[in-house]
């Protein structure tokens, strides 16, 4: 247990170090880099260093302590924290929904080859349908869909869009994992005349874990993106996505401010991914470790 805590602490320290490193690189480049970017063969490869392109790190962070709008009690930090927390809850809902759908689809596809052949290509296609084409449709469910006592809340549309992005990597990764069970173990289960479902739970899911973990990590990130995009595109208030675009509109006058919201979104993604990693550590704790090197 203490070991786990120590590892977590170590990771945090490393992350802070990494951030510091990025800040140093950013400022160094800003100091020495060409104001108007560097071009190679007429293509701009090196970014510009102007205030619009790369605000100073301290400028970005100093924005956190300013009031959000003049004269208000609420600082930008408060606003970003509140927004991130709001979006976090939507993302978790979206992720849960996406994971449910993704795993269910993977199981169906693993069970029935016909389903896999019939559906998988369309899952791929679904991922190339831009949210912009779907968002208005999903949003229109808000307040209109009523099933019994359940009224479709507006935020659920955002979560659904998060789930829409999250389910795909989860479905593909899980499908691959379910197929990864060693033939010898499958034979063993066959020799027990174990039903497909039994084999699924006792053998295929455990062997799929190494494949599912990265899939869930991608799904967690995707869910955040989906929710944030949905907030922007559907005009849902309260979340970090909305903040990003509101601050982005101020970028002409205050290019540093939008970074506060961007950082908020990044932190959100980290928390989501961190949760998946934590689950991974717990689930995989009793698997054979790779030979110590």
């Amino acid at each position: 247990m203490t070991n786990v805590v120590r590892r977590a602490a170590q990771r945090t320290v490393m992350f802070v170090a990494a951030l510091a490193l990025v800040a140093v690189v950013w400022e160094t480049y800003k100091a020495v880099g060409p104001e108007d970017g560097g071009t190679v063969l007429g293509v701009r490869i090196l970014p510009r260093t102007s205030e619009y392109a790369m605000p100073h790190v301290w400028d970005m962070f100093s924005r956190f302590s300013r009031p959000e709008v003049r004269g208000s009690e609420r600082t930008v930090l408060d606003a970003v924290t509140a927004g991130a927390w709001y979006s976090f809850r939507l993302s978790v809902a979206g992720f849960a929904l996406g994971a449910l759908v993704g795993v269910a689809l993977a199981v169906l596809m693993a069970r029935f080859k016909v389903v896999q052949r019939g559906v998988l290509p369309y899952l791929v296609v679904s991922q190339t349908v831009p949210l912009i084409a779907l968002a208005p449709l999903v949003v229109s469910w808000g307040g209109r869909v009523e099933i019994g006592a359940f009224v479709w809340p507006r935020w659920l549309s955002a979560s659904v869009l998060g789930a829409f992005l999250a389910f795909f990597p989860i479905a593909v990764g899980t499908l691959r994992g379910l197929a990864a069970a060693p033939a010898a173990s499958v034979e063993l289960m066959q020799s027990y005349a174990a039903s497909w479902t039994k084999t699924l739970f006792k053998l295929r899911f455990p062997t799929a874990v190494p494949y599912m973990v990265p899939a869930f990590r991608l799904g967690a990130s995707a869910s955040v993106i989906g929710v944030v995009v949905a907030e922007i595109s559907t005009g849902l208030k309260g979340g970090i996505g909305r903040l990003i675009i509101e601050y982005a509109r101020e970028a002409t006058g205050d290019p540093a401010k939008v970074y506060t919201a961007i950082f908020g979104a990044a932190a959100l993604g980290l928390v989501m991914a961190g949760a998946v990693v934590a689950v991974d550590v717990i689930v995989m704790r009793n698997r054979p470790k790779e030979a110590v090197s």
Binding site: P182, A184, S185, E187, L188, Q190, S191, Y192, A193, A194, K198, K202, L203, P206, V209, N286, R287, P288
Partner: protein, 266 residues
């Protein structure tokens, strides 16, 4: 009554492809209820394949396998047999105890009953204190013993065992042989047993089936008439040595000519 009836079975892998292998060719064998039959033969002669066919993990290319009067497939569905594979094949994510309980879980036994049986089995394979370890923390021989415990746990009427004692030391091996015979006698279990050890085959079996490779065929069946009870003494009886010699000759002859000698004495 016949427990296993293998009727003119052939098995070809990769049929029609350049790497085609005739694993079994025209194999016929009857195993009576309660009988202990060993398969012996050079590696690659199709022993594991034959066992897989009986277990309905493979379909014969031609011929038929009948188990307990039903098709092999039905017998598998009815869980008429327990099987121990050549590779231990334990599940890494389950503790030793949970590995043993697996077939019981699938039969729907309740927790306390499962746990009691697992304890009993751990005792049987002399690893009572390793129940909560994970398989990869055990030595090779220990893993194999767990796999045996798993195969025996549900007390199946038919046991299919593929070199189960291969990785055991002599002491443990003799102990396990004794236990296996004791259990089988008490429950009337039929056993089809693959081994490379001639004494082991003779000591355990009512009949020893000698096979030859490429294509895998039965070349000789040696009846062992050692009577019911076996003991340490058994290993010193003439019938024991005679049977050993008979099996050895079956194997040698084949080794010399590599083509079966046709001395199928059934």
């Amino acid at each position: 009554m016949t427990a296993v009836s293998i009727r003119n079975v052939s098995k070809v892998f990769n049929q029609g492809k350049p790497n085609q292998v005739d694993a079994l060719s025209n194999v016929a064998l009857e195993v009576k209820q309660g009988e202990f039959v060993s398969l012996i033969g050079p590696s690659g002669c199709g022993k594991s394949t034959l066992l897989r066919l009986v277990a309905n993990l493979l379909e014969p290319t031609s011929g038929e396998v009948v188990v307990n009067g039903k098709s092999a497939a039905q017998a598998r569905l009815d869980q008429d047999y327990g099987m121990a594979f050549q590779q231990a094949g334990l599940f890494d994510w389950r503790t030793v105890r949970k590995n043993i309980e697996l077939p019981l879980e699938l039969k729907g036994w309740d927790k306390s009953k499962r746990s009691a049986r697992a304890d009993e089995m751990l005792q049987l394979v002399q690893l009572p204190e390793f129940g909560d370890h994970y398989p990869w923390q055990l030595s090779g021989g220990m893993q194999q013993r767990i796999a045996i415990a798993r195969a025996l746990a549900a007390h199946p009427p038919l046991l299919l065992m593929d070199e189960p004692f291969g990785a055991l030391d002599e002491m443990t091996r003799e102990y396990m042989q004794g236990e296996l015979l004791r259990i089988c006698a008490a429950t009337g279990t039929t056993v089809v047993f693959v081994t490379h050890s001639i004494p082991e085959a003779v000591y355990l079996s009512n009949r020893v089936v000698v096979m030859s490779p490429r294509p895998g065929r039965i070349t000789k069946v040696v009846d062992v008439s050692l009577g019911g009870e076996r003991s340490e003494d058994t290993r010193n009886r003439t019938a024991f040595f005679e049977a050993i010699t008979a099996v050895r000759e079956g194997l040698r002859g084949m080794h010399a000519a590599h083509v079966g000698l046709g001395n199928d004495d059934r």
